[in-house]
Amino acid sequence: MDWGALHTILGGVNKHSTSIGKIWLTVLFIFRIMILVVAAERVWGDEQQDFVCNTLQPGCRNVCYDHFFPISHIRLWALQLIFVSTPALLVAMHVAYRRHEKKRQFRKGDQKCEFKDMEEIRKQRFHIEGSLWWTYTSSIFFRLIFEAVFMYAFYFMYDGFRMPRLMKCSAWPCPNTVDCFVSRPTEKTVFTIFMIAVSSICILLNVAELCYLLTKFFLRRSKRAGNSKQQPNHENKEETKQNEMNELISDSCQNTVIGFSS
């Protein structure tokens, strides 16, 4: 199990995402996960071994390192990426559930379902409407919250986003205030700023996607309200009845409640 497996899982969600969602996923995989695995892990690889304190007192280095780096940047980023990718799994589960329902209807030989075979059901792309809209929008909302929480945690734990070259430590068993030197501080600062910048871009993309979905939702609602007002004037009674029947049929296809399979 590694980042590749996460990529496979999230790749499935990509089909049902909006265009902004697809851009977000690409940014996540190329500019965050790949950079983390290929570059950042090497930069932080030797962080404790090369953390040097100006003392021979055994234990002082361990204690000072633990004091200044309660949780390593690299681990915090890995956790952030895992938490930020998780809401997309909700969408994946919802889509899998819908697909499962359609397969069940197909197997029962339901005439109302419009699919010809299982392959079509498997390849079908679900539009983001109805309950899937709510799942998708909540997933974006949670993503935003997790991103913000981790960015704040970073800022709070490390007093900003700069990696200092020198730290003064006086934790026991250090005999006095000793100078401790961090390895590769400039390179670490560069990567920290890069990851924060990409995180901000992802936040902006999520906000844009949220606004887009909300706008689409309200436009659709006002269109429906507009249509229902116009209907009695422009259509005769038979056409109205036919439209209602068609809506009922398409709704029942999507919303038939059959419990979890077992």
Binding site: M1, A5, N62, P70, T86
Partner: protein, 219 residues
């Protein structure tokens, strides 16, 4: 052989699980396996090299490390992941047995070999009970071995060949504590999911049995 093997195994189990079972598989994959491979493993990678004692006596560090960490946290974590995922194989084997039987008799014996009913339901319930039991066993083991879910910052050691009581310092203590709490939290979440699934299946099939009997009585 690596974690990918376990991942493929569990993906196979996913097919015959209930909805809650699938959530359990997702939690194990993302919050336990992925966190282990991507983050936790590297924290404990050089734990022995970074374990430092305030003494030059050869052998003292080795002996003290061995005394305070009989089995490393990360190894216990890996064992827990493997043990907890294994009971699900019982279900896979039972389904394979059903399919073999159908092939052997050359006719359809079951409406759907993968449907959880009859014998397969018993197997599924047993696998759930085993999973929950193993989770609890490992949590208790962690608690007993390390005196609660704590990692000390430094320990005092006076085992031979250490000539006196020496101070030994553990590396990355805070980071290890954070991930230990994370492990315990996800373990508890998985226990809750398993118990939820057990109750769900129990009630579903009790109600089904009751309704069947009720219909028969009426007839």
């Amino acid at each position: 052989m690596s974690w990918a093997f376990l991942r493929d195994l569990l993906s196979g189990v996913n097919k015959y699980s209930t909805g809650i079972g699938r959530i359990w598989v997702a939690v194990v994959f993302v919050f336990r396996l992925l966190v282990y491979v991507a983050a936790a493993e590297n924290i404990w990678k050089h734990e022995h090299d970074e374990f430092e004692c305030n003494i030059k006596q050869p052998g003292c560090e080795n002996v003290c490390f061995d005394h305070f960490f009989p089995v490393s946290h990360i190894r216990l974590w890996a064992l827990q992941l493997i043990m907890v995922s294994t009971p699900s194989l019982l279900v896979v084997f039972h389904v394979a047995y059903r399919e073999n039987r159908e092939k052997h008799h050359n006719r359809k014996l079951y409406k759907n070999p993968g449907k959880i009913d009859g014998g397969l339901l018993c197997t599924y319930l047993i696998s759930l009970i085993l999973k929950t039991g193993l989770e609890i066993v490992f949590l208790v083991l962690f608690y007993k071995l390390y005196n609660g879910f704590k990692i000390p910052r430094h320990v005092k050691c006076d085992i031979k060949p250490c000539p006196i009581t020496v101070d030994c310092y553990i590396s990355k203590h805070t980071e290890k504590m954070i991930f230990l709490y994370f492990l315990v939290a996800t373990s508890c979440l998985c226990i809750i999911l398993n118990l939820g699934e057990l109750s769900y299946l129990f009630f579903k099939y009790s109600i089904k049995c009751y309704l069947k009997r009720h219909v028969k009585k009426q007839q």
